[in-house]
């Protein structure tokens, strides 16, 4: 029973709904005629809790299927990590060193997420995207983001 995916899905929604309901109580509720900022979230929170419980309930009464694992069979930790790390590199390098290093690192790191990728191939791809991307955003769209900078 506890292995069922929907059990966790429903549980998550129930918890989220309950949290929203509790949090919305901290805002002014007002009356139905003059609704305060808390009223609409309160209604949504209750709805979400109810839907969550329904999902959970359906999960309890329906039979298990073949695949109830939450994570896919093939764990792509490298791919997932690299895809998430790409924009984080973009933030850090962009904030301190400018658009060019940010773009290069973002594409390079994300590209390494593919199992068949090589350092050289990723670097070439990153260089290409950097060249065209920076040209597009700096010269054509003129976004206020220096190509290079040091410190904040």
């Amino acid at each position: 029973m506890l292995k069922k995916r929907d059990f966790y899905a429903g549980g998550l929604m129930t918890l989220l709904g309950a949290a929203v309901t509790l949090d919305s109580m901290t805002y002014t509720l007002g009356t139905l005629t003059h609704m305060g900022p808390g009223m609409f979230p309160l209604m949504l929170g209750c709805t979400l809790t109810l839907v969550g419980v329904l999902i959970l309930g359906t999960a309890l009464v329906s039979p298990l299927t073949d695949n109830e694992n939450i994570l896919p069979k093939q764990k792509e930790w490298r791919g997932w990590g690299c895809i998430l790390a790409g924009p984080i590199f973009f933030i850090v390098l962009g904030e301190y060193f400018g658009l060019v290093p940010a773009t290069f690192s973002c594409v390079f790191v994300s590209a390494l997420g593919d199992r068949t990728s090589t350092i050289k191939g990723s670097a070439i791809l990153a260089a290409g995207v950097t060249f065209f991307g920076v040209a597009l955003f700096t010269y054509v769209l003129k976004i206020p983001f220096p190509m290079f900078r040091l410190g904040h």
Binding site: L48, L71, V129
Partner: protein, 516 residues
């Protein structure tokens, strides 16, 4: 009515034929066609990526381009299905069933030719429907008060979340999550910050670009990384002259095309049943009325013509509720509506009279765009086929850059790049739990207007919650909502497996989970 519509359409062509608008339309359909062909990139991800780039251009151009991406991708998606047997775009999944066997028999070119014709027929009908139906809807909708708008939105949200793929309960849960994300930020009336966790960057709310790119960009990439195998290009050698169908093939396709068109346009009118469902239903219908149903799946040209026509007629029809009522039927329409709102245009029934250039220009650009697409697809088929071989490992890292810079450039704020990473991670986790994130966007876009109208309705009725059933029009919408829920409960309890989507496909063809 008829004459005014035609004069307005004439005016629309004037707008759409302005050189820069033709250019945006061309860019839109070209990019759309391209991503439609590329396995692993959907129109949702592409429109989200292009959205920040449209801030600098005029609203008309921006909308023409983004809409072009959507219908352009439908043309490209068919190529992918027919030549590679890769159902990477859900509306074209059924086209694989008969399209690929045709390819194996060496008639793939003819199947593509028929697809282009059916698409054009379907789209033309969808556009005509939009021209005449939208003004009528607007006349009705302008009489709506807050209570009616509210119930109509409720109906739209409910249909959008329960009629799409996957469990309806989970769809509703996602819609409510979307509504909640829409609440983040300062309350419109009192200015109280809600669900901001004290972070000043969130006082303006969550940016639609960050939400869309997180859910349909990063989360999708995380799902697809290392999953797409190398494509088999054995059959992809299609030349221009191969596109011509034989006389017999053409004769058999024509009635199928018209049936598909009708089914598609009906599906478009029900919010939530977008092109995917339309194509499944039309394939099932075509198979049922055929004299030789057993031959379906072995390369029947009707099995290509019918779903393709219905996809396109429904794609164009999807714009009707979006543009005339301001109620999007699915996530793509929600994004397009979001793009309008970013440009400072309030969606709703007043849109046609306040911004006729956008509405009629868009309709006229549909014709232009569809003609461009036919021209692009017929002689340049060789180029599109070459695109099929671009590996995913070069595609997604490049897209990651556009995600990062796109989110940054909306407000020149690095915080939002962090936001998109977090949304992507949460979105992937939701995908793993079998939630479809598309309704989140629907709820997010409609949320603030829903709350505003709800509050207003309550204020006018002096807190009487029954106002929604006391007004006759509103009562009809609420009744339809109830009917929808009852229908879902009935269908699920009776036979959980016999839904149209599962019915039309044999078990070995899994419906792709990629974003529409």
């Amino acid at each position: 009515m008829f004459a005014t519509a035609l004069t307005d359409l004439w005016y629309g062509f004037g707008v759409a034929l302005e050189p820069h608008n033709v250019m945006w339309c061309f860019i839109g359909v070209f990019v759309g066609n391209m991503v439609g062909v590329l396995p692993g990139m959907g129109p949702l991800a592409t429109i989200s990526i292009l959205l920040p780039l449209t801030f600098g251009i005029k609203p008309v151009g921006a909308i023409l381009m983004l809409a072009g991406v959507f219908y352009g991708a439908q043309y490209g998606g068919a190529i992918c299905s027919i030549l590679l047997n890769l159902p990477c775009h859900p509306p074209h999944a059924v086209t694989c069933l008969d399209g690929f066997p045709l390819t194996k028999r060496g008639r793939g070119g003819a199947a593509l030719g028929i697809t282009v014709i059916s698409s054009f027929v379907g789209a033309s009908w969808g556009i005509t429907e939009m021209i005449f139906l939208s003004p009528i809807l607007v006349v009705v909708a302008l009489k709506f008060g807050p209570a009616e708008i509210c119930s109509l939105m409720l109906l739209g949200l409910l249909a959008g979340s329960t009629l799409a793929r996957g469990s309806p309960l989970k769809g509703v849960a996602m819609t409510v999550c979307g509504l909640l994300i829409g609440i983040v930020g300062s309350d419109i009336e009192t200015g109280t910050p809600r669900f901001t966790f004290g972070i000043p960057n969130l006082f303006d709310g969550v940016e639609i670009v960050a939400l869309a790119l997180g859910l349909f960009g990063i989360a999708e990439f995380m799902k697809s990384v290392n999953q797409l195998s190398e494509v088999d290009t054995k059959y992809t050698n299609v030349k221009f002259k191969d596109l011509r169908p034989t006389r017999d093939e053409f004769r058999r396709s024509v009635p199928a095309m018209f049936r598909g068109t009708i089914i598609g346009s009906l599906c478009a009118l029900i919010p939530g049943t977008g092109p995917t469902i339309a194509s499944f239903i039309s394939y099932a219908t075509e198979k049922k009325i055929s004299k030789t149903p057993e031959l379906f799946g072995t390369g029947m040209i009707e099995g290509v013509a019918c779903p393709e026509a219905s996809t396109h007629s429904s794609v164009q029809g999807d714009f009707i509720p979006t543009m005339s009522l301001g109620i999007p039927g699915d996530a793509v329409m929600a994004l397009i509506l979001g793009a309008l709102m970013i440009q400072g245009i309030v969606p709703g029934p007043q849109l046609i009279s306040e911004h006729p250039d956008i509405f009629w220009g868009l309709i006229a650009s549909f014709w232009i765009g569809n003609i461009i697409l036919v021209v692009l697809n017929v002689p340049m088929i060789g180029l599109w086929v070459k695109l099929l071989t671009i590996p995913y490992k070069y595609l997604y890292p490049s897209a990651m850059f556009f995600v990062a810079i796109g989110v940054y450039s909306t407000n020149n704020d690095m915080f939002q790049v962090g936001e998109v990473v977090l949304i992507g991670l949460v979105g992937y986790f939701l995908l793993l739990l079998d939630f479809h994130p598309a309704p989140i966007l629907l709820g997010f876009v409609l949320g603030p207007r829903f709350e505003e109208n709800f509050r207003r309705a309550m204020l006018i009725s002096r807190g009487d919650i029954l106002v929604f059933v006391k007004h006759p029009i509103s009562a009809v919408f609420i009744g339809l909502c109830a009917l929808l829920i009852l229908m879902q409960v009935y269908v699920r309890l009776r036979s959980p497996k016999s839904l149209p989507t599962e019915m039309a496909l044999p078990t070995d063809h899994k419906i792709p989970e990629a974003a529409e």
